[in-house]
């Protein structure tokens, strides 16, 4: 009953439902030539952390992608009670590499597509430079404000994984719940119509409560710390062994003088050439890159939980961020090694 009444009240907004809006935006960007990728199946703080962004903005290859990404920020949890604040909110992430000259206009067109009429609204680009120190990533840009409401982060990426980007990518991050509430003219994100019969609250409120409960009150600090250490250790072991293999490979190559062998035939072919312990070492062609990156993301999420639990001091924060960043920059470097190696093979 109550639900029906809510729908009647918000019907005058006549905005798109949450799922209609998502599909409209996806279609819009598909029309712009973007790959419509799937959400990433791991906890991330933002769509930026997905491999489709983190890795693909590196290196020279053009890339256009759009995907919806549920993103978790434990400290923003409000037990499902706050009308605007969510622990897990939904982003639409778009990467345009390189960006078109009229990238701002294209973005505004995407808003028109979902029903925002700029004859009746005030859209502004206000300075906001984005930074993710754990990823060694930062960019220059704006928060896009619609009648005083922040609806998108618009960023010219300058660095990711500690690597200067070339070419530059534009990243658009839409805050979908806010935009939906705006379109549907409701004051509470939980009242947003997900489809014609269910609200955002119906689908998500319990989850918000449970995640808040854990992240704020119940998470075992000790367990989270141990998990952090375990994931970090696993990731850094891989990165260290990779560094070792890279070193011995280059030594071996120098010894044999058969530098093309390793890349032409892949690591299996080189096994016989290299000292025996190397057989188990990850090499540029056999490195579980995205898996190691997952460990890095796990650390990042555990860090956020510990932070929400109030377990991290100012100085420890700096140290933990540096540890995650080390993994992220290490992984980014392997990615670049890999794409260089692939190019060498192609050109050979």
């Amino acid at each position: 009953m109550a639900r029906e009444k809510r729908f009647k009240e918000s019907a005058k907004g006549a905005g798109l439902t949450f799922q209609e809006m998502i599909s409209k935006l996806s279609n819009f960007w598909a029309g712009q030539g973007a790959v419509c990728a799937l959400p990433y199946d791991l906890e991330v703080g933002a769509g930026t952390m997905c491999p489709e962004t983190f890795f693909r903005v590196l290196g020279p290859e053009p890339w256009k992608v759009a995907y919806v990404q549920p993103s978790r920020r434990p400290a923003d949890g409000r037990y499902g009670e706050n009308p605007n604040r969510l622990l897990k909110h939904t982003q639409m992430q778009v990467i345009l590499k390189p960006p078109p000259l009229n990238v701002q206009d294209v973005y505004l067109q995407s808003l028109r597509d979902i029903g925002i009429d700029f004859r009746h609204h005030d859209i502004r680009f206000e300075e906001d430079n984005w930074e993710a120190p754990t990823l060694g990533a930062w960019g220059i840009g704006w928060q896009v404000m619609l009648d005083g409401l922040e609806i998108t982060q618009f960023t010219y990426f300058q660095q990711s994984g500690g690597v200067d980007l070339d070419p530059i990518s534009v990243e658009l991050t839409y805050g979908l719940e806010r935009i939906a509430a705006f379109l549907q003219n409701v004051n509470d994100v939980y009242q947003v119509k997900w489809n014609s019969s269910l609200t955002y609250g119906d689908l998500r409120r319990t989850e918000e409560f449970e995640l808040s409960l854990y992240d704020f009150e119940m998470a075992s600090i000790q367990t989270c710390r141990s998990l952090f250490n375990l994931y970090e250790e696993e990731a850094s072991t891989f990165l260290e062994r990779y560094a070792e293999s890279k070193e011995s490979e280059s030594e071996a190559l120098m010894d044999t003088g058969r530098s093309h062998m390793a890349t032409e035939h892949g690591p299996r072919a080189t096994d016989g050439l290299l000292p025996t312990p190397l057989t188990s070492l990850p090499t540029v062609h056999r490195f579980p890159l995205r898996k190691v990156y997952e460990f890095c993301l796990k650390c990042s999420h555990l860090f956020n939980i510990l932070d929400a639990r109030g377990a991290i001091s100012v100085t420890e924060r700096v140290a933990l961020i540096a540890r995650i960043r080390k993994l992220a920059t290490g992984v980014a470097q392997v990615y670049l090694d890999q794409s260089t190696a692939v190019q060498e093979v192609r050109s050979a």
Partner: protein
């Protein structure tokens, strides 16, 4: 070089079209563009007159410069190239040599057309010719990219690739036009693939189509038609006028906020103010929180009545012409309501756990890894507070109850760090604690002290309102400083992650202006307290040195004292208590330039030189003090007597803090000092005479030359009129 003629001139219009430039850098960028353009036009000799008439304008999407007159072509100039020296160019018969011939050949002229050129180095053979000026269009095409890309920004970006240009935001169009009307032509250049053309763009959504332009007047008129006002001053006037109109009927006013006004002017192309409202119930929240949300988070002007009571209204500045259906107002109201609801929620949730019940949370909140929790910090602050109170009590300057109030405020001072409100609005730390303390029934004095205890945030900021507030602030900052130094967090160069310089500045300001405490002894006591901090080497002396620097900074930046005055005072470390330093500095600057004082300063330098460089420790002998029986000359006897006589007088001046008179009195020693140095050889052959003279100088140094200030640090204002010490006499070289 001679200007031969002036040419026709035409107006120049330059516009850099950009994606939205941050409001905070816009005004500086506009100014920089004008300066750089003017500099280049001057360098290229393209301005017809000396007086600059460049006009500049800006909006978030454009930087504009207009020059009414630019020469179409550089003026001609005669150019002289010096060749071989005249003597070499012609042989003794006056015939041109090979040198002259090859020089002529190189320059494509005959020897006959060469001329004599007189230079400071002598007579040369040379060539003189008229050089035709180049076209402004060509020159500007070469120079304008540099003019634009050279504008300095605090944080610029790439938008194409690492090898591409850097600017504050991507450049999307360029207008560079010489001439007006049908004669106007674009200057051909490009930046990152964007070519300078003769069209611009209007308001992003209200007038986005291309606008052709043939000159400045048309340019600004057509832009205005498409909802772009390029003049920041006109936009400012309009915002002010709009606000006036909105509030005309009521007797209300917008809370004055120049920084916010700058921001709205620099973040809009077509500003229009609208008024919105919010639920009356939010007025139950404190003004501080409401204004912070409106101003800092939403960029709204708060509205108050003539008594200064906040009203449930706000003024937002749009970047569109109107809001006929009220959609934009509703949007702002909704966002503000959500933010206020957040604040209200935090306020209510926070009250469930009053400040005193939050101490045990502080036990678990780390202040700094080596320095324990915030609860540990509070315990240290309590001990420091007791010491501050003891010193104030010793001077009879602590009213009854103030000690207890200070201790209570210290105890609760950091509890607000655990509240959701401060989590949301970190800039309100302290303020929130004070507000909560008040509603939770703490005495007003305690609440105010908590509220104020982060003040002063800078040397410009005010001290806390009450003595109790200043005690709490001082205890907090002293702890940060002492504990920080103990943990080796001393600021180095530009790195000061714990903000210790700011804490130091606050400490100096409080003791100088409010609590009038003698700082260094207090710091020494605090540094000795047993807080179980990491053992640190030279803690007290590091702190002293640091605080002397902060004191010097304060005296220069706030009291406006001269550099050498300040150096003389803080390196003196004499008997003057810190609160009197400003008085002393002013007194010093009054006598600074008098002849006697200057001469005395020279004598002080000379004395310090002898004591520290020429004399060895054993030269001072076994005895202590000056022995009149060992004087051998009238001059040393006179000096000593004059010194003893002055001392009594100076003591009494000092007791009444009359530093000006004390310094004048000291300056009267000058003739005695001069005669002493004229006639007396300090490093006498007789060991005991020499030792006695050195001891006399030691006493003078301590009792007069560095008593209030270190006179040896005073810079001479007129070096020629006073004797510069020669070290020959004192360095012992003349001794057999």
């Amino acid at each position: 070089m001679k200007e031969l003629e002036t040419f026709r001139s035409e107006p120049l219009l330059l516009e850099v079209g950009s994606e939205e430039i941050p409001a905070r850098v816009l005004a500086a960028a506009e100014q920089s563009l004008g300066k750089r353009l003017e500099g280049v036009l001057q360098k290229l000799r393209l301005l017809p007159s000396e007086a600059s008439s460049i006009k500049t304008f800006s909006t978030p999407r454009r930087l504009v410069a207009f020059v009414p007159e630019v020469l179409l072509r550089q003026p001609e100039k005669t150019e002289e190239i010096a060749g071989p020296p005249f003597k070499v160019a012609f042989d003794k018969d006056g015939r041109p040599t090979r040198a002259a011939e090859s020089f002529a050949q190189k320059n494509g002229v005959t020897v006959e057309s060469l001329v004599r050129i007189e230079t400071p180095k002598g007579l040369y053979l040379g060539v003189r010719r008229l050089v035709r000026g180049r076209l402004a269009r060509e020159l500007l095409a070469e120079e304008l990219p540099g003019v634009i890309l050279g504008i300095g920004f605090p944080k610029s970006m790439y938008w194409t690739s690492k090898t591409g240009p850097r600017f504050i935001r991507p450049i999307r169009w360029l207008v560079a036009l010489m001439g007006e009307g049908t004669r106007s032509r674009a200057i051909p250049f490009e930046i990152a693939g964007v070519e300078a053309r003769n069209y611009t763009y209007g308001h992003r959504v209200a007038g986005a189509a291309k606008i052709r332009t043939h000159g400045f007047e048309e340019f600004s008129r057509k832009l205005r038609e498409r909802q772009v006002e390029i003049s920041p001053q006109c936009r400012r006037d309009r915002v002010k006028n709009d606000i006036e109109v909105l509030l005309e009927a009521s007797s209300l006013r917008a809370v004055d906020d120049p920084a916010l006004e700058d921001w709205v002017v620099n973040s809009t192309e077509w500003p229009r103010a609208i008024m919105g409202g919010f639920d009356q119930r939010f007025l139950n929240l404190p003004r501080e929180i409401l204004v912070t949300v409106m101003r800092d988070h939403q960029k709204y002007f708060a509205v108050e009545d003539v008594q200064g009571n906040l009203q449930p209204k706000f003024i937002a500045v749009m970047n569109v012409d109107s809001d006929p259906e009220g959609f934009i107002r509703q949007g702002h109201e909704r966002v503000l309501t959500a933010r206020f609801s957040d604040a209200e929620f935090f306020w209510q949730a926070d009250q469930k756990r009053p400040l005193p019940d939050r101490m045990d949370i502080l036990e678990r909140v780390t202040y700094q890894a080596q320095l324990g929790s915030y609860a540990d910090k509070i315990r240290r602050m309590e001990a420091i507070t007791l010491e501050i109170c003891a010193q104030l009590e010793g001077q009879g300057r602590l009213a009854s109850g103030e000690k207890e109030q200070a201790l209570r405020a210290v105890r609760l001072s950091k509890c607000d760090l655990t509240t959701q409100m401060v989590g949301e609005f970190p800039e309100l730390q302290g303020v929130v604690g004070g507000l909560y303390a008040r509603v939770q029934g703490e005495p007003q004095a305690v609440a105010d002290a908590i509220y104020d205890h982060y003040k002063p945030q800078s040397v410009e900021d005010g001290c806390p309102r009450s003595v109790v507030g200043s005690i709490v602030s001082l205890a907090d900052k002293l702890d940060s400083l002492v504990a920080g130094f103990a943990a080796g967090l001393d600021p180095t160069g530009s790195s000061d992650p714990f903000g210790l310089r700011r804490a130091g500045n606050g400490i100096v300001k409080i003791v100088m202006e409010h609590l009038k405490l003698n700082l260094l002894p207090l710091v020494a006591i605090v540094a000795e307290m047993d807080f179980g901090l990491p053992p640190a080497e030279n803690l007290t002396s590091r702190l002293e040195e640091f605080l002397q620097d902060r004191t010097a900074y304060y005296l220069q930046s706030v009291a406006g004292l001269r550099y050498d005055t300040v150096r003389a005072m803080v390196s003196g470390a004499g008997t003057v208590p810190i609160p009197d330093l400003c008085e002393l500095g002013k007194a010093l600057e009054r006598v600074h330039d008098t002849e006697d004082f200057q001469a005395l300063a020279v004598a002080a330098k000379r004395t310090r030189n002898i004591l520290e460089k020429s004399a060895k420790a054993e030269d001072f002998g076994e005895l202590k003090g000056v022995d009149a029986a060992l004087f051998r000359t009238q001059e040393e006897r006179d000096l000593y007597n004059a010194y003893l006589g002055a001392l009594n007088v100076v003591d009494s001046y000092e007791a009444s803090s009359d530093y000006a008179s004390a310094l004048v009195k000291l300056a009267e020693l000058r003739p005695f000092v001069d005669r002493f140095f004229d006639k007396v050889l300090v490093m006498d052959q007789d060991v005991s005479v020499r030792a006695n003279r050195l001891r006399l100088l030691s006493e003078l140094m301590a009792g007069a030359f560095s008593r209030f200030v270190d006179l040896s640090q005073i810079e001479s204002t007129a070096l020629t009129s006073v004797g510069v010490p020669t070290s020959g006499m004192e360095n012992g070289k003349r001794m057999p």
